[in-house]
């Protein structure tokens, strides 16, 4: 009877495609919008997770997220180093500085100043040059997306392609000359500004003169010290806030979730996808069942128990669900792959696949349920009605 159920489903091609389209649309919209949402949210803390090495981020207690810089006095670094259990602690500068481009325009850049000695906090992947090249005079490392887009040199001729910034090129950072010594790959930032790495001492020279310029202190716990306990100890002894890397990333995401309309906007899109998908798939599946009611009645008259008919409907529903889910997720993945070199934030995680599968399952169960209800209540005597 399973084969009969599937043949009945596929036999009505228009409705079969209609149901699959509905589920595909829902699956695509839910997966795609959720992936963009996750991609966007992951950009908010990408800088934190890019820095693999330090366990602990120390900052002003009023900092709410990674870009909420509340500079510290340089002496705070020594206070952190003085806390028992800290293996090492290094300074980190993070700030927005203006770069002057060849055509005279300005571009705001995310400048990261790394500890001069250790260069801890550097980019996760170098494409050209090496991190040690930062020790060269006026050296900076630029992320490849920024180098080839916002910081690219204008085209020589009108309408031509801009020339990407290359190793050896010089730019002006806040009226200071800087020379590109490397190109790196980093996680995209939330505001998509170019990311420029340099040493801490050079970064504070580039930065506008202020009394406090230390953005964060990156610290590592000694081997036998629990990083969580160390955070508490740093806070207790210095009055500064100290977070584990993952906690700081989570805090950043939570800030954006709480204080921006992003989750609501994407949530609405996902919900709409779910509702529209449910409506299309549910309605079409129900119509398909109504169209086949005579045949279900015939099967019932011929001795098919309700359980058998329900299994048939469930199988039909599972079939369209699997196909629709596959097509929807496949299309979303394709869109993500095609947009990987663009500014579009897209991060498809296994969690989203599960969420999308759950949503599709709910749609299919709903569709099957309203059809099952009709079939269970069906009087087999309907078969004698012409």
């Amino acid at each position: 009877m399973n084969l009969i159920a599937l043949k009945m489903l596929v036999g009505d091609r228009a409705k079969y495609l209609g149901i699959i389209m509905g589920i595909t649309f829902a699956s695509l919209l839910i997966t795609q919008q959720a992936s963009i949402f996750v991609g966007l949210m992951s950009r908010t803390y990408g800088f934190v997770t890019d820095l693999g090495q330090p366990d602990i981020w120390v900052m002003d207690p009023m900092v709410q997220f990674i870009d909420d810089i509340k500079p510290l006095q340089d002496t705070e670094l020594y206070r952190v180093r003085g806390v028992t259990g800290v293996a090492w602690a290094v300074p980190l500068y993070k700030g927005l500085l203006k770069a002057r481009l060849d055509d005279g325009s300005y571009q705001t850049c995310n400048v990261i100043g790394l500890d001069d000695t250790t260069l801890i906090g550097g980019p996760p992947k170098m494409i050209e040059g090496s991190l040690a090249d930062l020790r060269r005079a006026e050296g900076i490392i630029v992320d490849h997306v920024g180098a080839s887009s916002r910081l690219a040199k204008p085209a020589a001729e009108p309408g031509g392609q801009p020339t990407p910034l290359r190793v050896g090129d010089a730019i002006e950072l806040n009226d200071h000359r800087a020379v590109v010594v490397g190109i790196c790959e980093v996680s995209r930032t939330f505001q998509s500004q170019p990311v420029i790495y340099t040493t801490y001492s050079r970064a504070v020279q580039f930065a506008p003169r202020e009394r406090k310029l230390l953005s964060f202190v990156l610290a590592e716990a000694a081997d036998d010290v629990d990083p969580k306990d160390l955070c508490a100890r740093i806070t207790a002894e210095t009055g500064l806030a100290a977070y584990l890397r993952d906690d700081f990333a989570r805090m950043t995401v939570n800030y954006f979730m709480k204080y921006t309309g992003i989750p609501i906007n994407f949530g609405i899109a996902v919900l709409l996808g779910f509702i529209v998908g449910t409506a299309i798939a549910g309605q079409t599946f129900y119509n398909f069942t109504l169209d086949n009611l005579r045949y279900f009645g015939t099967l019932k008259a011929m001795g098919a128990p309700n359980s058998m008919l329900l299994r048939m409907i469930l199988l039909q529903s599972v079939m369209v669900g699997i196909i629709g889910y596959g097509l929807g997720v496949g299309a979303a993945s394709l869109m993500g792959t095609l947009s990987s070199s663009t500014e579009l934030a897209f991060k498809l995680t296994w969690h989203l696949l599960v969420i999308s599968a759950t949503a599709v399952t709910l749609i299919c169960l709903f569709s099957a349920f309203i059809s099952m209800y009709k079939v269970v209540r069906l009087e087999p005597a309907i078969v004698f009605k012409s």
């Binding site: 036999g11 099967l299 001795g303």
Partner: protein, 238 residues
Amino acid sequence: MSTDSSLAVYCKGVTKTYGKGTAEVMALRGVDLEVKRGELLMLVGPSGCGKTTLISVIAGILNRDGGECAVFGTDFGDMRDHERTAYRGKNIGFVFQAYNLIPALTAAENAAVPLLVNGVKRQRAIDRAKDLLGRVGMQDKVNKPPSELSGGQQQRVAIARALVHDPKLIVCDEPTSALDHETGHHVMEILRSVALEDGRALVIVTHDARIFEFADRIAQMDDGHIVAVANSPRELKL
């Protein structure tokens, strides 16, 4: 309840009412009817007289309100829903006016449906369905879908489907009304020759006077009653 083993169908005082209150319609008002094994009985009468309701009750797809009704000694009134469904699946064959063949299936698959419903393995069911289709002259159409068959051919597939599981009773609702005279005659010849084997009984509801000659007996209904039973249409002045 009759214990006469020669009876395929025994109905006594069967009543059935549709609706409630002012919308109440009494479709059967105490029907008495007997159908013997190996007999082809036709139920005739004007539209709305209760013919279809009566075969629905006899076939166990509609509950009666009162009276007695047994098929081969089995009273559906004593059964639970699932028992009645199982009994129908094994013992009753159906032929419908609109054929009710599933469009997405081939002739052989359609004819095999009752066996598949009864849990017979697919290949065995299809083989048996092909045998039956051969007996109704459809051996060269076994793989055709209903859309590629004429009305007469579809009804022959429906007859094969009604017989494929060797039911004891076959109920037919207007089996020839959608067919031309010649095709209707041919279908009835097949029904008579194939369906009445092995002591089966056949109850046919029809308006089609052209096929009365195939009946062993004709029961005339009017306003929810059997008003006359005769061996030929002439006796009933039809």
